[in-house]
Subunit: 434 residues, 2 copies
């Protein structure tokens, strides 16, 4: 039986998951691939810690070049994470004619265009199913399952940590801080949770999905990004009263003349499928012009789910090696010459419905003052709740607007927040799916 | 630019959808495939009806052999449906060295083993993404996305007609007959709805998914199949009171020593994701040993979604033709030599929870008599509802059991239904997901 030789960079959780799968499901995978996947070498700075998987000690090295320069290695799996040395290693592996499998969304979101160009020149594959949505075959589905479709919309819950925190806050009424601490105790959040809770990780993933969906270069900077750390239990309560749930959503839309791309806390109708994706799960809703709405749901992270995605890429590239079909499906989804840059809308140009929570002094006439400013900025109100619930001498006034322009909203809020009767910054949450 | 030539057999709804996609999204598909998909010939007995798509009239023919024997045609798309002449045409196309794309689940469920063997011998591809789940890339996801996984369980809502009827009955309290009539008016159900409502279509699809998931030959006869036509509004009401929803589920489980395979109306917890798949939508939950639970949701039928799946198969095979990589992913999911027949459990050996609705005379002691028979057959009761609601002189008694064996249940019900105090046949619904 033929064999495909693999080198692994980064022997962390996902790396150990990949190795476990190759051991436990090796014969099954071989029965499908028709070849052996042989793990030839693993490079990691730490070669002493036991990862709980049985490997021959002599395949471990602290020297990445032993993987990068081994002429027998066909595919290099990069599971180091972060920008450097991941970028340099990947580029060196490509230069050495090796195919790449990576789970590194940060790397691709920042240096993807460079990496894909280098791989294209060298005629090697770059596969990254594990970079978005863990064990859910999102990337395969967009690139191959929906190949006949113009993607019109993407709505994704792509970060399990943020979704766990918002679910916890919704189910138990806890504060953001308490929910984050719980997530850290459970191992869902890292010591520095910035990338997860501030939407940066979600934006990385959206930038990758947009490339595949719209045939554009990766453009992370154009993705408007806002996190969940300002959301309070009070907002969660109001949101539910209005019949919504809150999710950190990755949103992309093809509006014909341009593309919309944003990551922010989003209110969606409580009955929608995405609203019921809870805990650390991920889901992506894709609207194709032909296939209609499709939703893919599953475990977006973790040792075995992400390992499963890595191995699916190994098999995919393995099949191309066996059949001499390298380049069969372009890494970027379309032929290199077909990539077109498209205008990505500024957040100012967004038109959507909004939730506002004003913190106002409890006196008559406040509502009419706020309403006056909104009206002057062409923002009309769909519903208002003023509970008279006193929080340190002030009352929350919450509103749902009709569709309004973001630039008008921002200008109106600036004006409102400087009113003497308004105390503290107004909370704004965008609404989708009505 | 290179081109791939396509011949179409059967110019019905899905065929017209395929043609529409090739026209409207042609340049987009070419930018992804790097080649042209050329529709060379369409064979259909009716070549006069306008299908609403612009084709050159001279590509239409009533003679299938003009497609089957055209040496320039690379891929034959079979969208005739049914067993014959579809089977003969497909086998002839294979014999002529043509690749096959089909949406015909009935054909594959009955003659799939023969067709896959013939294609294997000839070295041609057979692709059938459109045969299960319409526009949802289910088959791609199982064969490629989850290639590293041993599939442990499948739960599927795979027939939009049955799901529409059960949703209607649940939402509006209508009878099966009324809901069916509505489905027929809406075009969701055919004049003869037997295949849809009696679970046969769902069983066809399950047999295909089981082949791919478990590496076994297609074995439709081993799939226990029961439809939804006996379900009444009264049952739907009780089911909801117990906190469940009812769905026509395709269920397959790898129990280690054997495989479970069944299609029947199934009660699942109201909060589960599958319970919230309503109307004509389809969904499949797949449990992989590595990736965990994955759910795929979308439009399981219709002109454009199913057309989208057909075209995805055309692109897939087209890529293999362009790269000389025919056979890259085996049609049956694993290498031919790796297929293993496995024991499929008889329904008698099933162990699950049950819902019973007895129709009994309204007299004291009835419940104890029924309970006595159940106890004698090792069936213990989790909860009972006896509403005293008189329906033509009798009362419904409903029960949820603990886990019990099907053979015991069947024996107990036979005994109970012959009791003088019991009037009419007892309704049995199996329960999953607790």
């Amino acid at each position: 039986m033929r064999s495909i030789n693999i080198g692994l960079l980064g022997f962390g959780t996902v790396g150990a998951g990949m190795v476990k799968i190759l051991i436990e499901n090796g014969p099954l995978i071989e029965s499908r691939l028709g070849a052996l996947l042989i793990l030839k070498k693993i490079a990691d700075l730490d070669i002493t810690t036991d990862r709980g998987v049985a490997i021959q000690p002599d395949i471990l090295t602290t020297d990445a070049s032993e993987v990068l320069n081994d002429p027998e290695i066909d595919i290099v799996v990069e599971l180091i994470g972060g920008y450097e040395p991941a970028r340099s290693f990947v580029l060196q592996a490509i230069a050495n004619g090796k195919h790449i499998v990576t789970a590194n969304k940060a790397l691709l979101a920042k240096h993807g265009n460079e990496i894909f160009a280098a791989a294209g020149k060298q005629g090697v594959e770059v596969a990254f199913e594990a970079s978005v949505g863990g064990g859910i075959p999102l990337i395969h589905s967009i690139k191959e399952g929906l190949v006949a479709n113009r993607v019109k919309m993407l709505f994704g819950i792509l970060n399990g940590t943020a979704n766990y925190i918002l679910s916890k806050m919704t189910d138990e009424g806890t504060s953001f801080e308490t929910a984050l601490k719980r997530a850290q105790e459970k191992g869902y959040a890292e010591a520095d949770p910035t990338f997860d809770v501030e939407g940066i990780d979600t934006a990385h993933k959206l930038a990758i999905l947009m490339m595949l969906s719209f045939g554009i270069p990766i453009n992370l900077d154009a993705v408007y990004t806002e996190g969940i750390s300002k959301i309070t239990p009070l907002d969660i309560e109001f949101i539910q009263q209005f019949g919504y749930r809150i999710k950190l959503l990755a949103i992309a839309k093809d509006t014909g003349d341009a593309v919309e791309a944003r990551v922010h806390p989003t209110m969606i109708p409580a009955g929608s499928m995405l609203a019921n994706v809870n805990g650390s799960f991920n889901a992506l809703s894709i609207t194709g012009d032909m296939a209609g709405d499709i939703l893919l749901f599953g475990r977006g992270a973790g040792m075995m789910p992400t390992g499963s995605a890595v191995v699916s890429d190994l098999v995919d590239i393995g099949r191309n090696i066996l059949y001499g079909a390298v380049g069969r499906v372009p890494a970027i989804g379309c032929q290199a010459g077909a990539v077109r840059d498209r205008r990505i809308k500024k957040i100012d140009d967004l038109e959507t419905k909004y939730y506002f929570r004003f913190t106002a002094v409890d006196s008559p006439g406040v509502l009419s003052k706020i309403g006056g400013v909104l009206g002057a900025h062409r923002i009309s109100i769909e519903s208002v709740q003023q509970k008279g619930r006193v929080t340190s001498g002030s009352v929350p006034i919450v509103m749902i607007t009709h569709k309004a322009r973001e630039v008008d909203v921002q200008n109106a809020l600036k004006e409102i927040d400087s009113l003497p009767v308004v105390q503290g910054e107004t909370i704004l949450i965008r609404i989708e799916g009505d």
